[in-house]
């Protein structure tokens, strides 16, 4: 049994404009002590799916949630609010993107940490404060005994994020969800925080779900990667597979559209044309087809399933192209061809491709 099992999760918001299908049939598993990276752009559903795991979308009147989330064998979607409150911040903890707005400006750091500890542990204030000091020391805040009395505004962005991590880990959670934890930080501070998360993961054996748009961050921290697009997972594989032999055109697009320090400097960027679809009127067929350079007539009609590739059951892809064709296309792209040249080289009929 995995620590976290998400099956066919759907989160639909009923709005005046229509039904926003923020998460539309997402399934994944996270093992104990493992790290899963969820990569996607804004509006791909990566945050909403994790907020739902935390039980934070259940309070929205407009949200319709279905599917199943089993944590440590317990079904979370049907758990009562009281049960969820006991799990949240205790067995599952979360850190957010913006450490300034996630801390209360009015209360001292120590008081906020003590509150987080006392709401799950039956300990005295003094004991909780000791634990708070210990956690601040663990995440690398100098002179924690003194700094525990500071207010959030006295801390820099990186220090605040450390406080958030200390708070999240104070109750020894089994699962830590990190939603863009380093996006608001400078690179040198980002490196400190990523190092810290990795160190804590190996020391405390916490499982991690890392949500980010930055492929560099997932390459450093995670074991497995799920790529999300328009509310669905479009590709899921081990980290090495995603970077070495990705099979979804959207993943290729992501990898080819960012300037990379590990490639020669003159390398042309190949942007993904168009923009992410509206989640109210998702395109028919494959959701990626309006932006896909390899689209064929059938792709506008048939919606692809998330299927394993022929020789690797752990690598699943949501694409209607034949796996063999995808691999040939990726080889051409890796040689520096642009999508059009790759299409010609592989021999996908140009007539059929016409937009």
């Amino acid at each position: 049994m995995s620590l976290l099992e998400v099956d066919d999760l759907r989160v639909h918001f009923h709005t005046d404009d229509g039904i926003v299908k923020a998460v539309d049939g997402v399934s994944y598993r996270v093992e104990r002590g493992q790290a899963l990276g969820i990569v996607g752009e804004s509006g791909s559903g990566k945050s909403v799916s994790s907020l739902t795991v935390m039980g934070l979308t259940r309070f929205f009147k407009s949200a319709r949630i279905s599917g199943s989330i089993r944590f440590d064998g317990k079904e979370l979607l049907t758990a009562s609010d009281e049960e969820m409150r006991r799990i949240r911040g205790n067995e599952i903890a979360m850190i957010f993107q913006d450490p300034l707005s996630s801390l209360h400006p009015f209360y001292r750091i120590g008081k906020q940490l003590v509150e987080a500890i006392q709401s799950h542990r039956d300990v005295s204030r003094a004991q909780a404060l000791d634990r708070a000091v210990e956690m601040l020391g663990l995440v690398g805040i100098p002179e924690p005994r003194k700094r525990v009395d500071a207010y959030p505004h006295e801390f820099s962005g990186g220090m605040r994020q450390r406080v958030m991590i200390a708070m999240a880990l104070a109750n020894d959670p089994k699962l830590l969800i990190a939603d863009e934890p380093t996006t608001a930080l400078d690179v040198t501070v980002q490196a400190q925080i990523l190092d810290l998360i990795q160190r804590l993961q190996s020391e405390l054996d916490t499982a991690i779900v890392m949500i980010t748009h930055d492929l560099g961050v997932v390459a450093e921290v995670t074991d497995e990667i799920a790529v999300m697009y328009a509310g669905e997972i479009v590709e899921h594989a081990s980290k090495d597979t995603i970077f070495a032999s990705p099979e979804h055109p959207y993943t290729w697009g992501l990898l080819r559209s960012i300037p990379r320090l590990d490639l020669p400097r003159g390398e042309e960027l190949v942007p993904i044309s168009g923009r992410p679809p509206s989640l109210i009127n998702t395109p028919g067929g494959c959701y990626f087809h309006p932006r896909c350079p390899y689209v064929r007539e059938a792709h506008r009609v048939t919606h692809p399933g998330l299927d394993p590739v022929p020789d690797d059951a752990e690598h699943t892809v949501r694409c209607l192209l034949a796996s063999d064709t995808r691999r040939r296309l990726w080889r051409e792209l890796q040689e520096g061809k642009d999508p059009e040249q790759a299409r010609t080289a592989v021999g996908i009929d140009a007539e059929e491709v016409a937009p």
């Binding site: 501070v189 450093e220 559209s257």
Partner: protein
């Protein structure tokens, strides 16, 4: 290529910190930019990189004279514009334009796209004929990849990437010589960033623009820039050609920055020894003595780095860096993912 369009000499900007309500007195100053000198060559892209608070945006706003420098010279076409008044700056404003980071707050939500892009013509009294101006604006929209039929739409009807295109169209409307782009893609989604970066490069080639490109993302800067200035706490610590900087950074701070960038290649990520700087950037109101980086520097030598300020001078490989103990080739090879093998 090598004639300087702008020469910046010893530029300083201190923001005073005042106390008191009726009788105000100055109690200190944020030393945002503290004596930077560099040239911007015609037709090149100069990158300014550094962490938040290093003074890169302030430098950009000083060059475009959106801020008044405390002291120093900004020589444009042989004339010092550091102390020029509003009136004499007006013709210069046609030649220097800015692109801002946030495509949401940098466009007036109540104006149509047509009037936003047409505003530079309005301000400078160019092409008063409505029909002709409309045609000019629509040509600009076409040029940056917007549909000219959307002339009468409002900013909220566009996505982030399209809004940034509107910002670009407005910036190139008067055919400027210099464009200062302050974090132009950091608010955009990854798949959209490349569209804007490619657009800027194409326009530079077509219009012969000189670009000052500010970003904190070192991969983006490497992709876009010919020369790069690395800033730390209001000072330039290293100035080098892009290849030189990424192949062999000499200043320990540049090295640490490059070492910190997460590389989207799991194999490389495992092999690389990441050099993690401890602590945070000190406050610019009270920067450390001598070398400002000495409090966080892995190569700090007590009694030297905190006493004698290093000057910007040529180091091995042609980089210009301000450091007493520049990085050696061995140190670079083990820490920096882009180091020349």
């Amino acid at each position: 290529m090598s004639t300087p369009l702008i020469e910046v000499r010893d530029l300083v900007k201190h923001f005073p910190i005042r106390k008191g309500i009726v009788i105000q007195h100055q109690v200190g100053a944020v030393q945002a930019v503290d004596g930077v000198s560099f040239d911007i060559n015609e037709g090149e892209t100069l990158g300014l990189v550094g962490e938040s608070g290093c003074g890169k945006s302030t430098t950009a706003r000083l060059i475009t004279r959106l801020l008044e420098p405390t002291s120093g010279e900004i020589i444009y076409n042989g004339v010092d514009i550091a102390n020029a008044n509003r009136r004499s700056l007006l013709p210069l404003r046609r030649e220097m334009q800015m692109i801002f980071q946030d495509p949401y707050s940098s466009l007036n939500p109540r104006k149509t796209v047509g009037s936003i892009i047409g505003e530079p013509f309005e301000i400078h009294g160019i092409e008063r004929d409505k029909e002709k101006r409309r045609r000019l604006v629509q040509e600009l929209m076409e040029q940056v990849g917007l549909n000219p039929e959307h002339y009468n739409r409002l900013p909220h009807e566009f996505s982030g990437g399209q809004r940034q295109r509107i910002g670009v169209a407005r910036a190139i409307a008067l055919k400027p010589k210099l464009i200062v782009a302050d974090e132009p893609v950091s608010a955009l989604d990854v798949s959209i960033q490349a569209q804007i970066l490619n657009l800027l490069r194409d326009l530079q080639r077509e219009l012969g623009l000189t670009i000052v490109f500010i970003a904190h993302d070192l991969s983006v800067v490497r992709h876009m820039c010919d020369r790069i200035a690395v800033m730390y706490l209001g000072k330039i610590v290293e100035l080098a050609d892009a290849d030189q900087l990424y192949d062999h950074p000499r200043h320990p701070y540049s090295g640490a920055l490059l070492s910190a960038v997460p590389v989207p290649d799991p194999r490389l990520a495992r092999e690389k020894q990441r050099q993690v700087l401890t602590g945070d950037v000190p406050s610019p109101t009270n920067p450390p003595n001598a070398c400002r980086f000495h409090t966080r520097c892995p190569k700090f030598v007590a009694g030297h780095c905190d006493v004698e300020e290093p000057l910007l001078e040529a180091k091995q490989g042609g980089n210009v860096a301000a450091c007493h103990y520049p990085l050696t080739d061995e140190e670079i090879a083990s820490r920096v993912p882009t180091a020349a093998a």
